[in-house]
């Protein structure tokens, strides 16, 4: 796990730090105070696009070379370091940032060339801030993803979707939503398919932006699909792929790069709490108290271990080595560490923390989501246990 960070990467981290300090944190604090997501027409998003962010990793079709832009991040570990830095400044703002977001990986892995061109193409050199999103969670199906009820029915050369999704990041502002649905609710994961549903498609509606405890800078939105009709070509990967193999399982790989990203975000949030706590203690002349020092030491130590677990998982992913246990471990542990660090930070603040206007108090609320998104801590433990002690699925 020896990295050399080249000059370009170092500059990117520096740039992330500057943007984080000057823009992300201030705008995140405003969103938190106002209790609403950053408006989609906020100049902050325009600035990101102008500076080359919000792009897809997809290189474009060979016949149409990608417009000259910065290189995408080469490795998972580099991505981890960068997202840790962003989350340090504001994890909510990071998720609000425009770009193809969560579904990009699925489209890159499973999409047809036509789908990549149609759905990722606009993100090659976007003319304005653009978002995309992935919709799996439903009111009755969170961790148990096999239980989703959103239904897809074939009707000639169209699919008709019906159902309800919730807690979907950036859904109301997304150009398109990759909707996970089932063609037969009795058949579990094998019957699941993903469909591109473009914004303003008739039947897609009922958008409701949820009120959250934290991470208020991005919208978590519920919506409904009522006889929402999409062309057959909108099935991710095309029909042929499902005739050969089962749906859900094709997405399963021996390595995972998504969970370490949440781990890196967790470490970022925890680090912010540590720095704030240390500043607070220094300003109030509390560092002479061993109880204060012990709390700071515990925060730093656990964060350091969390970061190493996270980087180990990324390092394995970069080598295409199996990392399922390590990825889940990094996510399960780092999310807990972020919670612990922010909570210890609150203790250190004492009643100042209870006022509700200190950054650590915000981080304490923000951090909780890290143990829930991308598979709860309990799900991660089930995944690890399947490997370590062959825990049966049922």
């Amino acid at each position: 796990m020896e990295f050399t960070i080249d000059k370009a990467m170092r500059e990117r981290l520096e740039e992330a730090r500057e943007r984080g300090r000057d823009e992300m944190r201030p705008i995140g604090l405003i969103a938190d105070r106002l209790g609403r997501p950053i408006p989609r027409d906020d100049p902050y998003f325009e600035g990101l696009i102008a500076s080359g962010e919000g792009r897809t990793r997809w290189p474009g079709l060979k016949s149409k070379p990608r417009p000259s832009t910065r290189d995408p991040l080469r490795t998972v570990t580099m991505t981890l370091l960068l997202t840790e830095e962003w989350a340090y400044w504001d994890r909510g703002v990071m998720v609000a940032n425009p770009g193809p977001g969560l579904p990009e990986g699925n489209v890159l892995a499973l999409g047809t060339d036509e789908q990549k061109e149609q759905y990722l193409g606009p993100f090659l050199d976007p003319d304005r801030p653009r978002w995309a999103c992935f919709a799996m969670t439903e009111p009755g199906a969170g961790s148990d993803a096999a239980a989703i009820r959103t239904h897809a029915r074939k009707d000639g050369d169209h699919w008709i979707l019906n159902g309800a999704k919730c807690f979907i990041g950036n859904a109301s502002r997304a150009d398109w939503i990759l909707v996970q649905a089932t063609i037969d609710p009795e058949k579990g994961r094998d019957a699941q398919r993903a469909f591109f549903v473009e914004q303003a498609t008739p039947g897609l509606g009922g958008f409701k932006i949820e009120k959250k405890m934290g991470l208020k800078a991005y919208e978590s939105t519920s919506f409904t699909l009522s006889d929402c009709r999409v062309p057959a070509a909108n099935l991710l990967g095309g029909e042929a792929r499902y005739e050969e193999r089962a749906g859900f399982k094709t997405a399963m790989r021996t390595f995972n790069a998504g969970r370490p990203i949440i781990a890196a975000n967790s470490v970022g949030i925890g680090r912010a709490a540590l720095d704030e706590a240390l500043d607070f203690a220094r300003e109030r002349d509390l560092l002479g108290d061993s109880r204060v020092r012990d709390r700071l030491e515990q925060m730093a130590r656990k964060l350091r271990a969390g970061r190493l677990l996270c980087l180990r998982a990324g390092w394995l992913a970069d080598r295409m080595a199996p990392n399922i246990v390590e990825a889940s471990m990094s996510k399960a542990i780092a999310a807990g560490v972020a919670q612990e660090a922010t909570s210890l930070g609150m203790e250190l603040l004492g009643s100042v923390g209870a006022r509700g206007d200190h950054l650590i108090e915000k981080l304490y609320r923000d951090a909780k989501a890290m143990d829930i998104v991308e598979g709860t801590g309990q799900i991660q433990r089930m995944i690890m246990a399947r490997h370590l002690v062959q825990l049966p699925r049922n």
Binding site: E2, R271, L278, E297, R304, L308, L388
Partner: protein
């Protein structure tokens, strides 16, 4: 940061230590505990593979390897039998003050003779753990516990330097809470003559840092073994119609134990890797030691818990692992001294704290 990929030399070393631990140490774990020492045959074959001279400079006939090699080997030996691992290394962490403060002369005069003497033991004591009066020429006082039944060389380390003693050390055998295979004694010193005295704050700090890595690696080894043993047991033992490992409460506990050891090991390797690159960092080593102790408080007792009543009985090794991991974490000032050091380093650093900087080489 550090390289997780071991080179061939280190892999071979780990394999050697692992085979030795599996074949020679773990099958005789209880015998060594009752006899207060490993079997002479085991000691002889250990001496043959040369692991004790791992970190001695080549000029002194050693392998000239560093902290990472030591922690890797220690983990394997401790997974076999941590008490025996302590007993088999004649120099133990007492090597580090000699290495850092005393230099080659001290190594040749004080360390090498011990390697040649059968059953010889050097013991390192942190001044804070003992009630000692260090005079100009001699030391008097008492040390409540050392994991040894004989002391050929006693090194007393404090933040300013160290002193070495070879005689005037009276040992009083104790039952010992753990590590009995290494022995257990209280020490009484009456005007024990100082044979060497070294000063140097920085070097003393480095010696303590290395010694903490030594202990942390033994902890990681015994904790790893706790995890592996309990996992195997939990897959065999059936309750309510299925292996107890397949009850979620225990499955989650097992993975959390595993994760605690992995986290401690990564911190340990990071600190050792840095020490080998001349960045011996007192705070990093202290952090690794604290995390290993933290893991031991969680893993040790839960190892017993998973075996239930059997865990409490000496027919199984988990009660031994629990006692020994607890005892190890009490050496060299234990968790409090380490927290004091790591906490102060953190508070003395400029803002943002060191962790926030990308310490990537």
């Amino acid at each position: 940061m550090f390289d997780l990929q071991l080179d061939e030399e280190l892999e071979l070393l780990v394999e050697t230590a692992r085979s030795f631990a599996r074949e020679e140490l773990s099958p005789r774990l209880r015998e060594a505990e009752s006899a207060r020492g490993p079997d002479p045959g085991v000691c002889a074959s250990f001496a043959e593979i040369g692991l004790a001279a791992l970190e001695l400079p080549e000029a002194c006939g050693g392998a000239g390897l560093g902290a990472l090699a030591r922690v890797l080997v220690n983990e394997e030996l401790a997974a076999g039998d941590v008490g025996a691992a302590v007993a088999l290394d004649p120099l133990g962490p007492a090597l580090y003050p000699l290495l850092e403060l005393g230099g080659e002369t001290a190594l040749k005069e004080l360390a090498l003779p011990l390697l040649a003497r059968e059953g010889a033991r050097a013991v390192l004591v942190a001044a804070a753990d003992a009630e000692l009066e260090v005079g100009a020429d001699a030391v008097s006082g008492a040390v409540p516990w050392v994991p040894a039944d004989r002391v050929d060389l006693l090194v007393v380390l404090d933040s300013e330097g160290a002193v070495a003693l070879q005689s005037g050390i009276e040992t009083e055998p104790l039952r010992g809470a753990g590590l009995r295979a290494a022995g257990a004694s209280a020490l009484r010193l009456q005007n024990a003559p100082i044979v060497a005295r070294w000063r140097g704050r920085e070097q003393a700090g480095r010696a303590l840092a290395r010694a903490r890595l030594y202990l942390a690696s033994l902890l990681v080894g015994v904790l790893r073994q706790t995890c592996e043993f309990t996992r195997d047991y939990a897959l065999q033992r059936v309750a309510f119609g299925r292996p107890i490992a397949h009850h979620q409460a225990l499955a989650f506990l097992l993975v959390d134990m595993h994760a605690a050891v992995d986290g401690a090991r990564l911190l340990l390797h990071e600190a050792a890797w840095n020490a080998d690159r001349g960045r011996a960092n007192a705070a990093l080593s202290a952090t690794a030691f604290i995390e290993a102790i933290d893991a031991s408080r969680f893993v040790g007792p839960n190892g017993v818990q998973i075996l239930g009543g059997h865990g409490f009985m000496q027919d199984y090794p988990v009660e031994k692992y629990m006692r020994e991991s607890r005892a190890l974490g009490l050496l060299l000032g234990g968790v409090d001294a380490a927290r004091e050091e790591a906490g102060r380093a953190l508070c003395d650093a400029g803002a943002p704290v060191a962790l926030s900087e990308l310490e990537i080489v």
